[in-house]
């Protein structure tokens, strides 16, 4: 048994390559469309691949087996390995490949090497099936597509609801297609190892599986390993390539694939058709990729659009020819080496001595029996309990997460409200401050006006009493003296010293920045020059400046010249422009 398992390793490797290569047809588009995540899709596909392999894999397996009864384990190992290597190389060079064609090619290589009589009838069944499977896929795809389109147009289901229905449909389609893949393609994996099936059966209580089915189970597991060895990113990439489809089309393609795989693998249907006198479908492993592409092309015909590029079709054609021929040649070459180098009896005549005819039907249901009822119940119960615990904790975690999110949102809302309030308060404070400043300025202005009025009154009273005194004076000389004194007082008053001081202070206050720049850029300016600069900044004329500074216009010009010199200005630059741009 252990040795037998070692021999079927090459078949299992082929199985894992099959899983990698074909699983993308089963759920690649679904994952790519994000309708299901990789974990869910891969789990459903894996489960149904195993179920299909175990419960409906016998038909295609027997067909493969009947193509060439390789009883010597080493030869079977070599043939499967050659097929696997061809599949691997073609996957690496990105050529579409069918494991069925590779394994059949390998078996033909073996058959030619040992000069065995080829069963042309059976071989033609294989070739015709490979030709007709995509064509039937196309026809089924067209029928499904037209029906779905008709239904969707009439049902007017809302897009969002339709999306949910399509998810359910996809799960069923993946399950059905995976079941078909397992049932149809398990023959490629273990078909040539049937003679090595273990001599035992396992009882699960409500069902039991025999030796061949145990072999199918192992083969199915190898396909599942292949499914999981493909990561999500690769599935996503492949989904974008050949089969980048809309959800509706994906469901149709999957369903077509599932139906055709079922037609070519169901012993029950084959028996039913035969018993009704109708021609039955041969139970032959076919390529799921080719069926899927057939369906896609069919849909393309209906839509009036070409869904697949000519380059892809050419690749498929090339793969269709290369896989069987390559596997056949490689097998022939390897067998030649085994025969010539290791002197292994690989010829047909020599093999007669080692071949024991398989008795497939009798292989099953022999003792020893492995009772799996109790372990099965315990296993299932533990799984159920663990699932329930997991779901409970997951629910709790989700609830807590939702509550935390709500709290976080509320907190954020509160924080933003707080920030808004603070901002409003600050705005109010700034407004209050500016109003206070305005109020103070107004108050000061009124005080100044009041003071000015009282000062003007006292000044005028002083002048009035002075004039009265001059009138009353009889002495002419005294009168002239008094009037001269009054004129002097008036002239002094006319220089407005207090007002001018206020005026300059206010100019400095308003043009604070300008005066600061002036002070830092030209620190050696005199007070008069600073005042002049301030007045020039106000765009006042020379005459106005001369009146304000109590100097002659000529002196203003001289002062301007000096200021320009102190500021080191070029001749072509005007002082006014420079001061205004400072």
């Amino acid at each position: 048994m252990t040795f037998a398992l070692l021999y079927i390793v090459s078949g299992l490797y082929l199985g894992s390559l099959l899983g990698t290569n074909d699983s993308v047809n089963v759920f690649g588009s679904t994952v790519n469309l994000k309708m299901l995540n990789f974990k869910t899709a891969a789990f459903i596909a894996s489960l149904f691949i195993i179920l299909g392999a175990v419960f409906q894999g016998e038909g295609t397996t027997q067909t493969i087996h009947s193509l060439g009864n390789i009883s010597e384990p080493v030869i079977a190992f070599s043939v499967a390995l050659c097929a696997a290597l061809v599949v691997l190389i073609m996957i690496k060079i990105k050529l579409p490949v069918s494991t069925s064609q590779a394994i059949v090619g390998g078996m033909m290589g073996w058959s030619i090497f040992i000069h065995a009589t080829t069963d042309w009838n059976l071989l033609s069944k294989f070739i015709l099936s490979w030709i007709f499977a995509p064509i039937i896929g196309m026809i089924v795809g067209i029928l499904f597509f037209i029906s779905m389109r008709w239904f969707l147009k009439r049902s007017r289901i809302h897009l969002i609801k339709l999306n949910s229905y399509l998810r359910i449909a996809m799960i069923f389609a993946i399950a059905f297609a995976a079941f078909g893949l397992g049932a149809n393609n398990i023959g490629n994996v273990v078909g040539i190892f049937l003679n090595l099936s273990p001599d035992m059966y396992i009882d699960f209580g409500f069902f039991s599986i025999g030796g061949i089915q145990i072999l199918f189970l192992i083969g199915g597991i190898s396909i599942v390993i292949g499914v999981y060895s493909y990561n999500w990113q690769s599935v996503s990439d492949k989904g974008n390539g050949i089969l980048s489809l809309a959800p509706e089309t994906t469901v149709v393609v999957l369903a077509a694939q599932a139906v055709v795989l079922f037609l070519f693998s169901s012993s029950w249907l084959s028996n039913l058709l035969s018993s009704s006198g109708l021609p039955s479908f041969p139970l032959v492993p076919v390529s799921s990729t080719q069926i899927a592409l057939g369906a896609v092309i069919g849909i393309g015909f209906v839509k009036g659009a070409r869904e697949i590029e000519a380059k892809t079709l050419a690749g498929i054609g090339l793969g269709w020819i290369t896989a069987p021929i390559g596997a056949g040649l490689l097998t022939y070459f390897i067998l030649f080496i085994i025969h010539t180098v290791f002197q292994f009896p690989v010829s047909h005549e020599n093999l007669q001595t080692v071949i024991k005819q398989p008795e497939i039907q009798n292989l099953a249901y022999h003792t020893p029996k492995l009772n799996m009822v109790l372990p099965g119940i315990l296993f299932l119960s533990s799984i159920m309990i663990l699932t329930l615990i997991y779901l409970f904790f997951r629910q709790q975690k989700l609830r807590l997460k939702a509550e935390k999110d709500i709290l976080l949102q509320q907190n954020q809302l509160f924080q933003s409200e707080k920030a808004m309030n603070e901002l409003e308060m600050r705005t109010f404070a700034i407004e209050n401050e500016s109003l206070n400043l305005k109020l103070q300025a107004k108050r000061k202005e009124f005080m100044d006006i009041a003071l000015n009025i009282s000062e003007q009154i006292s000044f005028l009273e002083k002048i009035s009493s002075g004039i009265n005194d001059a009138i009353k004076t009889t002495d002419n000389e005294e009168r002239i003296h008094r009037l001269t004194k009054l004129s002097l007082i008036i002239k002094q008053k006319m220089s407005f010293p207090q007002e001018k001081k206020e005026f300059y202070l206010q100019i400095e206050e308003i043009h604070k920045d300008f005066h600061l720049k002036l002070k830092t850029s030209f620190p050696d300016l005199t007070n008069l020059e600073k005042r002049l600069a301030g007045l020039l900044r106000l765009n006042l004329s020379t005459k106005e400046i001369s009146t304000l500074l109590n100097i002659s216009p000529k002196s203003v010009e001289v002062a301007r010249y000096r200021l320009k010199k102190k500021m080191n200005l070029d001749k072509d630059k005007t002082l006014n422009n420079f001061i205004n741009n400072l």
Partner: protein, 215 residues
């Protein structure tokens, strides 16, 4: 996993959202008419209603976004759908802003332009009115979207034509207007006309989306 509950909820919200846009366009039309006819109180009412509708549409749009993303609904189409909702939301936002412009800037509109401006508003709003059923159909019957969208394009073209003619009249045949008033009128013609342009943009997006959905 199949989210039927959330699917139902999002369908309801989308329906409500589309109704809000529809109502918004009608209120805008009414608002412009009231302004032109000098019904100040009614105009203020329209302004208030449109403002409320716009805020409500914003909330609905965010709700739809939340549901579509958190419940992983229609992963392959939600980007397009949210873009469409954004475009539709732009329409009601723009209608509200434009009506506010009337309220704030109080443009002087000579009475001889009243009829033309009312006609312009009606055409612009008709473009939006034709867009909403097409958007509704996208969800249930994408094949009929295209035949509904041709009306949007027609009204948009008519709006453009009328807007050009109004602008020409303003600048060439009403000499008593000041240049500033002419500019002001040009801007307000543009404010009304632009609604049909936004409706056309949404129609472009919708027609591509319908093509994507066609099976």
């Amino acid at each position: 996993m199949f989210n039927f509950k959330h699917a139902k909820k999002s369908i309801d919200i989308i329906e409500q959202f589309l109704s809000l846009i529809d109502q918004g366009s009608l209120i805008f039309k009414d608002g412009v008419k009231n302004y032109l006819q000098g019904n100040h109180e009614n105009f203020q009412d329209n302004l208030k209603t449109l403002s409320n509708l716009s805020s409500e549409a914003d909330i609905k749009k965010r709700e739809i976004e939340n549901i579509l993303y958190t419940q992983s609904l229609m992963p392959q189409l939600r980007g397009d759908i949210l873009n469409l909702l954004e475009e539709l939301n732009n329409i009601i936002d723009l209608a509200k802003t434009n009506l506010f412009e009337f309220d704030v800037e109080v443009p002087f509109i000579p009475s001889e332009l009243n009829q033309d401006l009312i006609k312009l508003t009606e055409l612009s709003v008709l473009a939006i009115d034709s867009l909403i059923p097409a958007a509704r159909d996208y969800f249930v019957n994408p094949d009929s979207v295209k035949e509904k969208l041709h009306r949007v394009y027609l009204y948009e073209k008519e709006t453009d034509k009328l807007a050009s003619s109004i602008k020409r009249r303003v600048f060439q045949t009403i000499p008593q207007l000041k240049l500033s008033e002419k500019f002001h009128l040009r801007y307000f013609t543009l404010h009304i006309e632009i609604l049909s342009d936004v409706a056309k943009n949404a129609a472009d997006l919708l027609s591509i989306m319908a093509l994507k959905r066609a099976i």
